[in-house]
Symmetry: C2
Subunit: 201 residues, 2 copies
Amino acid sequence: MSQNTKTKHHHGDLKNALISAGLDILEENGLDGLSLRKCAAKAGVSHAAPAHHFGNLDGLKEAISARAFGLFREAMIQAAEAEGSDDRARLKGICRGYLRFGLNHKGLLDVMFGLPASAFLKASKVPDESDSYAVLREACAPFVPEGSTPEIVEVQVWSLIHGFTQLYTSGRFGDLPEKDADQGLFDQVIALLDSLSAAPS
Amino acid sequence: MSQNTKTKHHHGDLKNALISAGLDILEENGLDGLSLRKCAAKAGVSHAAPAHHFGNLDGLKEAISARAFGLFREAMIQAAEAEGSDDRARLKGICRGYLRFGLNHKGLLDVMFGLPASAFLKASKVPDESDSYAVLREACAPFVPEGSTPEIVEVQVWSLIHGFTQLYTSGRFGDLPEKDADQGLFDQVIALLDSLSAAPS
DNA sequence: ATCTGATCTTTACACTGTCAAGTTGGATCA
DNA sequence: TGATCCAACTTGACAGTGTAAAGATCAGAT
């Protein structure tokens, strides 16, 4: 029994185990299903164990979100690369990845965008790991008008795709007529970005 | 004592009193501060009284939201009318009212857009009272391309302003440089709607 | 071999939503 | 008028939650 499966203390990697448990719960039961005690139970520790690593529930959510932002970032990059090398197609690919992540991982998106501002910034900007905003910034770069700050285009694109994703994944568009469904509606809505003018390279 | 202030039963208009209490709590302490028991206490009744009128917490949230959607609708209409009669200015006015409502009443917006899909539809579509979507639809009507369904433009506009409002009111844009602040950033972002082409009247 | 401190458990408490059963009092009906 | 009914509300209870305090355990350093 060099490695008893039920040693009472010193789990070994409880911090990551709790984060993984939280991700599982979010995927299965959404944000409402997440609790410190359920994460602890899933990881096989006492209900108060998470507090030692994360302080409180907000701390756990921030840690979970840091991992989730990594997945989010990868989903956007992957969707963009599937679009080839055209700048506009790439930007739309980012948006498609954004929406797809929301559809497939609504619980994760909810916890990420439910964070307080400071926790959001920390969780979303782990360099070379979870920095999701950098993905957006790079995709928007070819569309920054001369003499303008890049933030404007970035906020335009972010607002459009974030709003669409939130509304769509929450069922706010009701039961759409089939002709508009899914990719169709997305393509038609995201076409608003066709008005962005490509900056001179 | 024709009207004792502390009659034990038969409050009179408890339903509306609880909704008002809920609105107050949301304005003061946000969505996290809202609870059945606090609403009951604020209305001066026992903790289980709200269940009789609303069934459960979701029911109370739906009822609160129905009232909030009325305020939301009025805020958008008022902001639009301040813009005069130009179609595009009116549409942007709607959006400005949307944002302003989010800034001034974040708790309300949170409870409204936190509702499950079916409750959202019921709360947001009380005819001649809380039908907020009708306001958007009418403002978008002049920009529906010939041969297209109105839903596309509506979803474009809704997504853009909803995303911007959510991100802005949650502090997702960080501490913005002053030059982009407030109305400035809003105007620059909403300028994306300048690409919508006015339909032939 | 002892000490120390990080890790985890146990216990406790306030707060939450929700259910079940009891109480009240206005309205209806004989 | 007096009995009855029932909606409105209270009381009590229970499970679940976050979180704080204090105790137990174990790995590693001294």
